[in-house]
Symmetry: none
Subunit: 237 residues, 2 copies
Amino acid sequence: MQQPTIVLISPQLGENIGAAARAMANFGLSHLRIVTPRDGWPNSAARAVAAHGQYIIESAQIYDDIPSAIADYQLIYATTARRRDMQKSTLTAREFASQCGDNHNVKTAILFGRESSGLSNEEVSFAHKIITIPVADCCPSINLSQAVGIIAYEYFQQQIFTHFSTESEEINTNIASIRDINLLLAHLEEKLDNANFWKATEKKPRMWRNIRNIFLRNLLSKQEVQTLHGIINALSQ
Amino acid sequence: MQQPTIVLISPQLGENIGAAARAMANFGLSHLRIVTPRDGWPNSAARAVAAHGQYIIESAQIYDDIPSAIADYQLIYATTARRRDMQKSTLTAREFASQCGDNHNVKTAILFGRESSGLSNEEVSFAHKIITIPVADCCPSINLSQAVGIIAYEYFQQQIFTHFSTESEEINTNIASIRDINLLLAHLEEKLDNANFWKATEKKPRMWRNIRNIFLRNLLSKQEVQTLHGIINALSQ
């Protein structure tokens, strides 16, 4: 199947980036994207600990923001430690792995937050689904590279059990890309702005995040995205 | 059950000892023994990265050799990356975890080798059984703390599934009822009718089914249904 891409959001320590790359290599993942690494890029500390994951560090792609980092993907997962008060389906790492088996040919990315505070609610809202790693109540904070390692481990175990063999590498072209979704959301936002929907402008960011969640929570087909464009136009004509 | 003790054999880097302790704490393990740590003990680098695993570092017990470190245990596992030419049963990390469920009240220890070369055959020979973590052929060398983390993770997942799997039957009152959804869909349909959205009326049933699917495919919260009513009103005002 299409292997998932690991996307690190504003990682702080090069050592963790390198250790994440090493763990990815252990478990057959090779695509790494990094959004605004704190200490810039390239990072010698990341190189120093990557071991056989060196090639992942060398080919990592760097982005200024999440939307551009995930624009060409179709299915986005966000990893969180805490439960979020969001209407998104939440999977354990193992449940995620078993879904990977079902989602052949869907371009998938997994977001991991910064060491100090994880992903913000705003950042989580870019994802369709949430992955949590079940941990002891006393000690929920997992090191970034350990979290990447466990997700990669679960992915790889699932791959072993469902033999690699003859699956096609073709992407399911029926599913809308994040770029398509963002164009749809921009269309809706523009029309809502024109209709003076937000009343109190300070409430807009939160309201808008909730609205985005509604449309991101499941995978829309390209056809459905077109239909929703049509609905927005028809209603606002 | 009796939680297994982690035994690190001649670990070289304090950072790895600390990271191992942190991962142990994540997954409910608290007993750490160390045989001949290269840089002596206590180790400030271990403390610095242990986070909430600090108490594990403080209470770690130090030994001069493997026999004294495991003398009071009943069942010993050794972790290895390579296959060994030994007549011992070899389990994956997951198989190990499921054995933990069977071995109630057996005092268990797991040996992990040094970063550079793992366990020697001599050291492996102290164990009853071998645990391997399945990895990609290209990149078998797992960081010591990652290896501890994955074994601890598997142990903890097994514990959760055996002891905490009484799912609540409570109804989530936050989720919109089908009645709520149908009112929302009726609202949308009325507005689309008024906007002459359907063009060819014979196409309406099929188009409408597709639209309904978009909103039925996942569970909307009551709040989200209200938000969607608001959007429809704002756009069609």
